[in-house]
C-alpha cells in the first residue's frame, strides 16, 4: 500500500517547489481538516508538505501602522494568547476560537480554515468583515489578495497550482468587530449560519465604515456590501439594522440540508447580523470612549 510522501521544507521557496512539482501534493498546517479527510478516504494526497518548519510561518507580527500579520501555520489558540491582537480584532479571534474543540484549536489554523474552503468556516466571515488580506506565494512570486478572493466554492480555492497561503494580514483597527454563529448546540458544532461585522465610528458615534460577511448560506462566504452600506451614515438604529438584515437575507443562497433548511438559514442570517452588529457597535463605543479618555 502506498502512503503519501512527507516533506518538511524550511523555506517558502522549497514549499512552493514541492507543491508545484506534484499536483497531488497538499500543504499541511494544523492538519485538522486534511488528516481527517485522509482517514475518511475523502482526500488521498500523493505528498504532504508540512509548513510548520518554515521560519516566520508560525506566529503573529505587528505591522507598521497598527496591523497584524498572522503566519499561515499559527494555531487558533495562539491568536487568543496574543493580547494586542485579541484587543484589536476580538471578532476574528473569537471566530477562530469557535472552531472544533480546545485540542483542535491548539493545532488548527485560520489559513487552513480558509483554504479548506468550507462555506461554514467560522474564521472566514470575521476575516472578510475585517477587510483582511492574504499573502500568497507561488511559482511566479508573491501576491496579496483579499480573503474573500480565496474560496471559489465548497472545497475549492482560487489558488493556482503550486501556490500556498503564507500569511493573513489584518489592517489597523479603527473601530471594532464581532462574529456570531448559529449552531444547535453550545459548542463543538458547525455553523448553520455565521455573521461577521466590522464597524468604524466617526464623530458623534456615526458609523463611517462597515463591512458585513455571512457564512454557510451560499457556496462561499459572502461579503454583503449592501448590508454594510445600510449601516453607514447613522447610529445603527433599529431601521438601519433591519435594512442590513434585509440586505443579508437577500444575499443568502443557502441549500436545504441536514444542518438546516434554506428558509431557516436565511431567517437566521438576518437575526445574527443584527445581533453581531450590536456587539460590534458596543465594542466600537468602548474603543471610542477609551481613545477619547
Amino acid at each position: 500500500m502506498s502512503s503519501p510522501a512527507y516533506h518538511a521544507p524550511e523555506t517558502i521557496e522549497q514549499a512552493v517547489a514541492l507543491l508545484a512539482g506534484d499536483a497531488g501534493a497538499r500543504p499541511l498546517a494544523g492538519g485538522t481538516d486534511l488528516i481527517v479527510q485522509m482517514r475518511s478516504g475523502r482526500n488521498a494526497p500523493s505528498a504532504i508538505v508540512d509548513l510548520k518548519r518554515i521560519a516566520g510561518l508560525s506566529g503573529i507580527r505587528a505591522l507598521p501602522g497598527g496591523g497584524f500579520a498572522i503566519g499561515a501555520a499559527t494555531p487558533c489558540t495562539a491568536l487568543k494568547d496574543d493580547a494586542a491582537l485579541a484587543a484589536a480584532w476580538p471578532g476574528v479571534v473569537e471566530a477562530a476560537n469557535l472552531i472544533g474543540s480546545v485540542q483542535v484549536r491548539n493545532r488548527a489554523t485560520m489559513a487552513g480554515n480558509l483554504c479548506n474552503a468550507s462555506p461554514a468556516a467560522d474564521s472566514v466571515p470575521a476575516l472578510v468583515a475585517a477587510g483582511a488580506t492574504c499573502l500568497v506565494a507561488g511559482p511566479n512570486g508573491q501576491r496579496e489578495v483579499p480573503v474573500e478572493a480565496i474560496p471559489a466554492g465548497p472545497g475549492k480555492t482560487s489558488l493556482a497550482p503550486g501556490e500556498v497561503l503564507v500569511e493573513i494580514r489584518l489592517p489597523a483597527q479603527l473601530g471594532a468587530d464581532a462574529y456570531l454563529r448559529s449552531i444547535p448546540r453550545s459548542e463543538m458544532d458547525i455553523a448553520v449560519v455565521g455573521a461577521g461585522v466590522s464597524l468604524v465610528l466617526g464623530a458623534g458615534g456615526v458609523c463611517t465604515a462597515a463591512r458585513v460577511a455571512i457564512g454557510a448560506v451560499a457556496p462561499t462566504v459572502v461579503l454583503v456590501e449592501a448590508a454594510g452600506a445600510a449601516l453607514i451614515g447613522g447610529k445603527l438604529d433599529d431601521a438601519a439594522l433591519e435594512a442590513a438584515a434585509d440586505a443579508v437575507r437577500a444575499a443568502c443562497r443557502p441549500i436545504d440540508d441536514k444542518r438546516g433548511t434554506a428558509e431557516y438559514r436565511t431567517a437566521m442570517a438576518g437575526v445574527l447580523v443584527k445581533r453581531t452588529a450590536k456587539i460590534a457597535l458596543e465594542r466600537a463605543h468602548k474603543n471610542q470612549g477609551r481613545s477619547q479618555a
Binding site: 502512503s3 444547535p184 448546540r185 441536514k258 444542518r259 431557516y264 431567517a267
Partner: protein, 752 residues
C-alpha cells in the same frame, strides 16, 4: 447532594469510596474492546451495503483473495444455514436467524450499512484495499424508512415470510407490521366521552442511537481443533458466547469469551455484530483476527432505539382522577422482527397510574433501517413522552398543579402493576412528595422561561448471576463475578462484600471473569446487576462467613452454632479470631476458603422518577436552553452514592439530548445522512446545567441492602419534562422530537 437519611445504618453501604478500576481507567491503562492484541493477529475490515434494500445476485471475491497480504474473505455464504432458533442470555430471547443477518447479509440486504463481506489481511490498509476489489452484484429494490410509509398499502414489504403476530386471525399476506400487542380493560372510549377534560394528540419521535464512545471491536481466534477464544467488550460475555456459538453451530463450551473493559453500552452491547464474522475469518486464516467498527458503521449498522408515531387520548374527571386512556403506538422495528420495545411501550404506557379504562395498542413496524436494539429503558421514553405530555395538558385544562395531578393518580404499594402482580415497596409517592418539597419546584419561574415536570417508571429486572468469593492467605478478599462493570459495579460489589464480611473496602478486589472461569451471568442490563449479581456476591460472602465460623469453632473445639461473626471477627464468649488470623491458618484447618453462589432472583422492584426542568426559549432563533434540571428518584438504597447519582444525571442528559437534538436523518435514497457525532448531535457538557439529584430511599425488603435498579428510570421522564417546559415557555404544545431550533422557530412563526 442529598445523602441517604439512614446512612448510619451501615458501615460502607451508601458511602463514596474510589472505584477499584478508576486509576487504571483515568491513566489510560485499561484495555477496552479495540485495544486487545493477540500474537499473530490479522486486521479485518467489513464491506457494507451502499443500498438500503437490495437482492444480492452474487459476490465475486476472487480479486480480493488474490491481493498480497489477504488471508481470508468471508461472505454470507460462509454462515451456517440459519433457521429460527431462540437463544437466551440477553434481556430477552434472540432469534439467531435474524441475529446472524445483523452480522452479515445472507442473500439480501435490508439496510444501508449492512455487512456483505469481510476480509482479514496482514494490515488494515491491505484489508481496506481488498474491500475495494470485492464485486457485489446488487439488484436494488424499493426501500421504505418512515413508520407510516412502511404501513402504506403500496409499501415495499421487507420479508415475504413475516406475518403480523398478535392478530386474532392469522393474516394471509406478509406485512411490515411484524407484531401487534395490546392491553384492553374496561371501556376507554366511553370513559373518555364522559370525562370532564380530555386531551387528544399525535406525538412523533425519530430513531436515536445509544451513542457509546467505544466502538464495537473484537479479536477472535478459532483453532483447527474447534476451540475458540474471543476478546471483546460487551454488556454480557455469556450472551456473546451463546449467540456466537449458536450462529456458528458449535458447542458453548468450545467458545471462551474474555470480557474487556467496556466504554459505554446503554443496552446496545448486548448482542453480536462482529464476533461471528471475526470467528469465520480466523478459522479460514488460521490466525486471530481483529474487527473494529468505524463510527459511521456504528451509526449505520448497530442500535438504534425506535422512532415512534403515537396517538393518545387521556380523559380525567373534574378532580383530576384519570378515567380512560386510548393509545395507539407504532414503533420502528428496523430490518428484522424481534424488537421488544412495543411490549414495554404498551405495558408501561400508563403503568405508573391507576387508569380503570384503557385501550393500548402497539405495533412493531419493519423498514429499511438497522434492527432496533435495547437503549436504556427500551421502549419506555417514547410512550412516556406522549403520556406525560398529555398529563401536562390535562393539568393545565383542569387547573390542577401538575405534581398534584400525578399524586392523585399514581399507583401505590399493594395495587396491581402493569403485569397484574401487586406492587411491592415502591417509593413513587415519596419521590413526588420530595419533588414537591424541593426548592426547585417552589422557586419562581424566571421571566421568559417555562417549567415542566414529568414522571416515569421502569420495571427493572433480576435474573441469573454467579459469583464466587475467595480468601487470600493474608485475609484479603477476592470476588469473582460475570457481570461486566459498566457503571461502577465493581465498587458496589466490593462494598457489599466488605459490608457483609466486616472488612475494609480496600481489602476486597473484584474480577470480572471470562465465560470459562465463572458460571453463567445474564447481561449487565435491565438495571439488574447491583441487585441480582449483588445478591450472588452477598450469598457467596455469607458462604465464606459460614466456613470462617466453622474454622474458628474447630480451633476452639466448640459447636459452630455457638460462634457468631461480628465486624470481621469470629466470636465465642471471650474468644475472638479475626478473619486474617483464620485465613493465615487455613493450611492446617481444612484448606482454602471459598464459596460460590448462583442466583436467579425475581423479587426485584420497579423504580420511579420525577424530573423538573426549566427551559428558556430564544424566540428569534428557536434555541432552547435548559437552565435548571432536578432528578428525584426512588433508588431503593444507594450502595455507592456517586454511581447512583451518576446514573440519574447520565440518564437525564441522554434524555435531554433525545428531546432537543438527537435524531437519525435519512436522505431520499434511504441512506443515513448524519452518521457521525458532528451531525448526530448528542449534548456536550456546556449544553447542560448541573443536574441536581435527590435520592429517595425506599429500600427493597427482598435485598439485604435494599437495592432497586436505578440505571434506566432516569432516561424515561426527560423527553416530556423538556417538552412540557418548552410548551409552557412558548404556549405551544411540543408534539414532535427533536425540539431543535429550526422546528421551534417554525412553530413560533406559525403561531404569530
Amino acid at each position: 447532594m442529598n445523602a441517604p437519611e439512614n446512612k448510619q445504618q451501615f458501615r460502607l453501604v451508601g458511602t463514596r469510596p474510589v472505584r477499584p478500576d478508576g486509576v487504571e481507567k483515568v491513566t489510560g491503562k485499561a484495555i477496552y474492546g479495540p485495544d486487545h492484541v493477540s500474537p499473530g493477529m490479522l486486521q479485518g475490515a467489513v464491506l457494507r451495503s451502499p443500498h438500503p434494500h437490495a437482492r444480492i445476485r452474487g459476490i465475486d471475491t476472487k480479486k480480493a483473495e488474490a491481493l498480497a497480504g489477504v488471508k481470508a474473505v468471508v461472505t454470507g455464504q460462509d454462515f451456517p444455514q440459519a433457521a429460527d432458533k431462540l437463544v437466551a442470555g440477553a434481556e430477552s430471547a434472540s432469534n439467531l436467524r435474524w441475529v446472524a443477518q445483523k452480522c452479515m447479509a445472507i442473500g439480501k440486504v435490508f439496510y444501508e450499512g449492512q455487512a456483505v463481506a469481510a476480509v482479514a489481511a496482514t494490515s488494515h490498509a491491505v484489508a481496506e484495499a481488498a474491500l475495494k476489489l470485492i464485486e457485489v452484484d446488487y439488484e436494488v429494490l424499493p426501500h421504505v424508512i418512515a413508520i407510516e410509509d412502511a404501513l402504506a398499502e403500496d409499501a415495499p414489504v421487507l420479508h415475504d415470510d413475516v406475518f403480523t403476530q398478535g392478530l386474532a386471525e392469522k393474516p394471509t399476506k406478509p406485512s411490515n407490521a411484524s407484531m401487534r400487542f395490546a392491553i384492553e380493560r374496561g371501556d376507554a372510549k366511553a370513559a373518555i366521552a364522559g370525562a370532564a377534560a380530555s386531551f387528544t394528540g399525535r406525538f412523533t419521535l425519530q430513531p436515536v442511537h445509544q451513542g457509546y464512545i467505544e466502538p464495537h471491536a473484537c479479536v477472535a481466534q478459532w483453532n483447527a481443533d474447534g476451540q475458540a477464544q474471543i476478546w471483546c467488550s460487551s454488556q454480557g460475555h455469556f450472551a456473546i458466547r451463546a449467540m456466537t456459538a449458536g450462529i456458528l453451530q458449535i458447542d458453548i463450551a468450545s467458545v471462551r469469551v474474555h470480557p474487556l473493559e467496556i466504554g459505554g453500552g446503554f443496552g446496545g452491547k448486548t448482542t453480536v455484530y462482529l464476533e461471528p464474522v471475526a470467528m469465520l475469518l480466523s478459522r479460514k486464516a488460521g490466525r486471530p483476527v481483529r474487527l473494529t467498527m468505524k463510527r459511521t458503521d456504528i451509526f449505520r449498522s448497530t442500535g438504534p432505539a425506535p422512532g415512534a408515531v403515537i396517538d393518545i387520548t387521556l380523559g380525567a374527571a373534574a378532580d383530576g382522577t384519570l378515567v380512560g386512556a386510548e393509545i395507539e403506538l407504532k414503533y420502528h422495528g428496523g430490518a428484522f422482527p424481534g424488537a421488544n420495545e412495543v411490549y414495554s411501550g404498551v405495558g408501561g404506557a400508563v403503568g405508573h397510574y391507576r387508569v380503570p379504562n384503557a385501550s393500548i395498542v402497539g405495533w412493531n413496524v419493519l423498514s429499511n433501517i438497522p434492527t432496533m436494539h435495547a437503549y436504556r429503558a427500551p421502549g419506555a421514553p417514547q410512550i412516556n413522552f406522549a403520556v406525560e405530555s398529555a398529563m401536562d395538558e390535562l393539568a393545565a385544562r383542569l387547573g390542577i398543579d401538575p405534581i398534584d395531578l400525578r399524586l392523585k393518580n399514581i399507583v401505590h404499594p399493594g395495587e396491581p402493576s402493569a403485569s397484574g402482580v401487586p406492587l411491592g415497596a415502591i417509593g413513587y409517592a415519596e419521590a413526588l412528595e420530595a419533588a414537591k418539597a424541593h426548592p426547585h419546584w417552589s422557586s419562581p419561574v424566571a421571566p421568559g422561561q417555562g417549567r415542566g415536570v414529568a414522571c416515569g417508571a421502569w420495571g427493572n429486572y433480576g435474573g441469573p448471576s454467579t459469583a464466587s468469593v475467595k480468601l487470600g492467605e493474608d485475609g484479603s478478599v477476592l470476588v469473582t463475578e460475570g457481570s461486566p462493570d459498566i457503571g461502577g459495579s465493581r465498587a458496589s460489589m466490593a462494598i457489599m462484600a466488605a459490608e457483609t464480611l466486616g472488612v475494609a473496602y480496600e481489602k476486597v478486589r473484584v474480577t470480572i471473569a471470562d465465560t470459562s472461569s465463572i458460571g453463567f451471568s445474564m447481561v449487565t442490563g435491565g438495571s439488574r446487576t447491583t441487585f441480582a449479581t449483588g445478591k450472588a456476591v452477598i450469598q457467596a460472602t455469607e458462604g465464606v462467613i459460614e466456613q470462617l465460623k466453622d474454622r474458628a469453632a474447630r480451633t476452639w473445639g466448640v459447636d459452630v452454632a455457638a460462634v457468631t461473626w461480628e465486624d470481621g471477627t469470629a466470636v465465642h464468649g471471650d474468644q475472638r479470631l479475626t478473619l486474617a488470623q483464620i485465613a493465615a491458618k487455613t493450611g492446617t484447618t481444612g484448606g482454602p476458603i471459598s464459596a460460590e453462589a448462583v442466583v436467579d432472583p425475581h423479587d426485584f422492584l420497579p423504580g420511579f422518577g420525577v424530573h423538573i426542568c426549566d427551559t428558556e426559549v430564544d424566540r428569534e432563533t428557536g434555541h432552547v436552553l435548559v437552565k435548571r434540571y432536578t432528578v428525584v428518584q426512588d433508588v431503593g438504597r444507594a450502595i455507592h452514592a456517586d454511581y447512583v447519582e451518576g446514573q440519574m444525571q447520565g440518564g437525564a442528559v441522554q434524555g435531554i439530548g433525545w428531546a432537543l437534538n438527537e435524531a437519525y436523518v435519512y436522505d431520499r435514497s434511504g441512506k443515513l445522512d448524519n452518521a457521525g457525532f458532528l451531525d448526530y448531535r448528542m449534548p456536550v457538557a456546556s449544553d447542560m446545567p448541573m443536574i441536581d439529584t435527590v435520592m429517595v430511599e425506599v429500600p427493597n425488603p427482598a435485598h439485604p441492602y435494599g437495592v432497586k435498579g436505578v440505571g434506566e428510570v432516569p432516561i424515561v421522564p426527560p423527553l416530556a419534562a423538556v417538552g412540557n417546559a418548552v410548551s409552557r415557555a412558548t404556549g405551544i404544545r411540543m408534539h414532535d422530537l427533536p425540539i431543535s431550533p429550526d422546528r421551534v422557530y417554525g412553530l413560533l412563526r406559525a403561531a404569530e
